[in-house]
Amino acid sequence: MTSSFVLSIVTFVYFGAMCLYWAGWVFHKPVLSRSATLVAVVGVAGNLAGFGLRWWESHQMGMGHIPLTNMYESLVFFAMVTMAVSLVLERQYRIRALGAVVAPFAFLAMAYASLKDADQVPLVPALQSNWLTAHVFTAFLGYAGFAAATGLAVMYLLKKSGPDSGIGRSLPEAPVLDQLMYQNILLGFLFLTVGIITGAVWANSAWGRYWSWDPKETWSLITWLIYAALIHLRLVRGWMGKRTAIFAIVGFAAVLFTWFGVNYLSGLHSYAS
């Protein structure tokens, strides 16, 4: 059984989890929500297994690098971390519906990954650095934090638009969602910061420049600036609720552009497309 086979099954598992989460949310059936959680746990376990298997396969092929080196692998890692973060929050704060807004990210990431080239290729010299692992790992933890925050922002807006409606009823109170969204933004921001910095240190050891204004670098900085503004608005200007939720969604659009959109521009990160 190959890792790409395992991971393509995981795609369907996430799809199943997503549907169950939605059904449980809309129909207020705890049994559906509980099974959604179970399916999501299976999905993350399978995702982790696929990740580990791919790593092992890479060793078998004499390359032996952690699978964090191209678009396919980053999508797989992102899906795994995002779904795991969602499950942790779900357990800790008893928000069953969270999976309904976060599982789509995991599913879409895996579905998009299946369109990407899953071939294992050895690393070109520039990528042979421990900084690569640190850089991709932290950057995608950051993306996962932002994805969870975006899911929570959507939930917040739904709750606000109809606290007692069919879909609003089973959601936690708005202030709880608001606070959780903010916590995830802080988590995402910390890891994005570490991701940018490890990237800079790596660039300095590979090319002798820690910052070159390459489009991907610049877009990561743009994302960073947007979230930095959001954090200041909240901490010092007292922004809460709807405004921060909308801001968080805009911030995630910048995350997505940093990840995907930049590949349509040229630059140093060509191997990440």
């Binding site: 704060y93 010299p125 520039a126 910390l190 910061t193 910095i197 800079a200 600036l225 930095a228 809460m240």
Partner: protein, 505 residues
């Protein structure tokens, strides 16, 4: 565990303040309200006060952050730092003039983008200078201790009653509190004791650490651009250099040592992808070799503040050319490297090998390896000629001056493409990086929490109240306070059981 209560909207202060963020009203220390140049209503006084007020405003910071984000997009859409021809080919003349006028072809180094960065730095510095003294005072102040008034004003107290006497329970509370929250201050109050403990007061300095890190990173960037350089050199095997070409200006930058490339090699994977580029470099000082080191991508050579990076490679062909005088039959040999001006024998002029073509074809005929020469004879105009390495008979057709030229032997040599940099700002930038990461961690995930416990008793019953307050993450701290109350309640029950021999009600 139920989700803890979250303070309702409006708990956060608004206003021009920055950096320190008291969450609750009682959290706000009195000295934080006094600011130089401000009246009680926080209105700036005088032109200087107004200027300070402008630079210290968080509105400005947020406006700058968002402006930097928005303008940065432009440089990712319009390719930066290309040649004039590139812009001519891709854009209309009018648009080109616009790009030139607002420096959009190199916008990140333009005066206006740099001005935005400087403004942000000034904004940060003014903010910090203004706010640090009060935060510092708060951090360095004597521990507050239990204060009845503050305790009473706290919301969400956890309370329980026990029959254990105050004097037995009090030391237990002090011990437990001390174990979970650090140093405890005890204050005798009416019919009992008040206890106060705190943790993480220093974490209020977190935002300053981030901002200092950010300023250091910017300052390091300025230092690097003022006193550093980025250059490159193509160094053939066996050759030395004492200078490199600069990336931006094409000027030559002398190095404080001589660099020699002893060997260059490329390793490939089975599928033909490059695996590793390796250059063996020797550093020479005062003409004698100081040390030799292999460099690879990601493993540069660092010496005397200069960094040498493996950047690219290529190959050159050098040839031993034979010059036979058409009349006298004299034969000369010359070793010729590519693109280097050489003297023709007998002072007949100069020549240069401009290109080596390993398989030259002419009108569909493969003529084998060929050297293309530019010849500059002593008299007459310069011209081009080809030297056929495998078809010597073709070389009889032309002469360079009075000479027939043929290729006696040739070899391909590799050159290594080295990026050579000097950046005295890197240490400062890296220090900034560490401060930013540490500061973010402290600011986001640690907090200043204070916990109050009041143990007071009448004749029969002892009442214990526990309350906590934190400058942020109030609900996270609430969980801990709740846990403390649970433990204390359990301890009180044990004590009661031992004293009375009965299960507590």
């Amino acid at each position: 565990m139920p989700f803890p209560k979250i303070p309702k909207k409006g708990g956060l202060p608004r206003g021009p303040g920055c950096l320190t963020v008291p969450v609750n009203k009682e959290e706000r220390a009195p000295q934080e309200r006094k600011r130089p140049g401000m009246t009680k209503n926080q209105q700036p006084v005088g032109p200087l006060g107004r200027l300070m007020g402008f630079f210290a405003s968080v509105k400005l910071s947020i406006a700058l952050l968002l402006t930097l984000a928005a303008t940065s997009i432009v440089g990712t859409v319009i390719p930066q730092g290309k040649t004039a021809e590139f812009y001519q080919q891709n854009y209309s003349a009018a648009f080109q003039r616009f790009l030139e006028a607002v420096n959009l072809t190199d916008m990140y180094h333009s005066w206006w983008f740099q001005a935005l960065l400087v403004l942000l730095a000034v904004n940060l510095m003014v903010c910090s200078v203004k706010r640090l003294p009060s935060t510092w005072k708060l951090v360095r102040a004597r521990p507050a201790g239990f204060h009845q008034g503050r305790f009473s004003s706290l919301k969400d107290k956890e309370e329980f009653e026990t029959q254990a006497p105050v004097n037995d329970l009090a030391p237990l509370v002090e011990k437990t509190l001390g174990r979970r929250f650090g140093k405890v201050k005890a204050t005798p109050v009416d019919q009992g004791f008040g206890y106060w403990a705190e943790r993480g007061r220093w974490t209020r300095l977190g935002p300053y650490v981030i901002h200092l890190g950010f300023l250091l990173t910017l300052a390091g960037g300025v230092l690097g651009s003022l006193y550093g350089f980025t250059g490159y050199v193509n160094l053939p095997e066996g050759e030395t250099t004492e200078r490199v070409s600069l990336r931006d200006s094409k000027d030559l930058q002398p190095l404080p040592f001589t660099l020699r490339c002893d060997r260059f090699s490329v390793q490939f994977y089975d599928n033909g992808m490059p695996k590793e580029y390796t250059s063996t470099l020797t550093v020479l000082e005062g003409g004698s070799p100081a040390f030799t080191q292999d460099i690879e991508v990601n493993h540069p050579l660092r010496h005397k503040g200069i960094n040498v990076f493996q950047s690219s490679y290529g190959s050159d062909t050098s040839a031993v050319l034979e010059f036979a005088h058409a009349e006298t039959g004299m034969i000369y040999e010359k070793e010729a490297a590519s693109r280097r001006m050489m003297e023709l024998p007998e002072g007949e002029g100069r020549f240069m090998v401009v290109e080596f073509d390993p398989s030259f074809s002419h009108q569909g005929m493969d003529l084998g390896p060929v050297f293309h020469l530019h010849v500059f004879p002593k008299e007459g105009p310069p011209f081009q000629m080809s030297v056929f390495a495998a078809r010597p008979e073709l070389n009889r057709m032309r002469t360079a001056g009075p000479f027939h030229v043929s290729a006696k032997s040739w070899k391909q040599t590799y050159y290594t493409g080295l990026q050579v940099t000097k950046d005295p700002g890197v240490g400062m930038v890296y220090t900034g990086f560490i401060l930013i990461i540490a500061g973010c961690f402290v600011t986001f995930f640690l907090f200043h929490g204070q916990v109050f416990v009041l143990v007071s008793g009448g004749k029969k019953k002892t009442r214990v109240s526990v309350a906590g307050v934190a400058n942020k993450n109030q609900q996270g701290f609430g969980i801990r306070v709740h846990r403390l109350a649970e433990i204390l309640s359990g301890q009180a029950a044990d004590l009661e059981k031992r004293k009375t021999g009965r299960e507590p009600r």
